[in-house]
Amino acid sequence: MLIPRRQKPKGIMPLPSMADIAFILLVFFILTSTIDIERNIPVALPGARSTESGSKKYFHVWIDAGGDCFVRGGRMDRGGLYRAAKYRAADNPDVRAMIGADANLPYRRVNEAMETLRDAGVYNIVLLSRKEAR
């Protein structure tokens, strides 16, 4: 009885399927990526054990160790923060303001920012912190 020889596997890459996968991944990255324009603001965040994650509509308010406030990468005074927050609250009343303030900053400065946000109609606040072990 003749035993048929196994055929040698062909060294062909299925390019169309690979291109499909590549494009699906590409679409995923395009949809999920955001341009980070606030990377250069030096802020050392405080740590907290009850840190939670959130995914609702939000905007960042950064306050560096010198007390300067930044929204979307631009330095803002109290009036500027109020106008920016008012605009965001008008667009979405449930918007969250994520305050990323330096751990060494006097609390007074963060309190001022929270008051400004509240006056502008932004009531949901997240004090950004690093997650610490419980």
Binding site: A22, L26, S33, P46, S53, M98, Y107, M114, R118
Partner: protein
């Protein structure tokens, strides 16, 4: 008379060069992988009171006052307390009173990191009603 022959343009082939297309796609993927970062969204969630609505009235018996001075020294109802123990002490208080309200008085000169630690202690204790006051 000699006629000049005009050459007909070659018919375009209806093929897409998949190999080059996948190369471009993979290059773009590498670009996004290298440049993407995860956005920071972790933190302490607070809901500020709406000033246009009437203030909530709470029974004085349900209120526990925590004060933190600018040097980081904390007191719980006037008694000295360590910052590390605040969470546990407030947890015990909450076990006694379900509707516990914490009035957190923070010095304006207190480092923000310490202020977050105090708010964290309140949240760790499971207290949901927090009143923040700056002194």
């Amino acid at each position: 008379m000699r006629m000049v022959r005009i050459k007909r343009g070659a018919k375009p082939t209806g093929e897409i060069t998949i190999a080059s297309m996948s190369d471009v796609a993979f290059l773009l993927i590498i670009f996004f992988l290298v440049t993407s970062i995860f956005l920071l969204k972790d933190g302490l969630h607070l809901a500020l009171p709406d000033t246009t609505k009437p203030a909530t009235v709470v029974s004085p018996g349900d209120v526990v006052t925590v004060a933190v001075r600018k040097d980081g020294a904390a007191t719980l109802d006037g008694k000295r307390a360590q910052m590390d123990e605040l969470g546990r002490l407030l947890g015990e208080k909450r076990a006694e009173k379900a509707g516990l309200v914490v009035l957190l008085k923070l010095s304006g000169e207190l480092p923000y990191g310490t202020a977050v630690k105090a708010i964290d202690a309140v949240k760790t204790a499971g207290v949901t009603k927090l009143s923040l006051r700056m002194e």
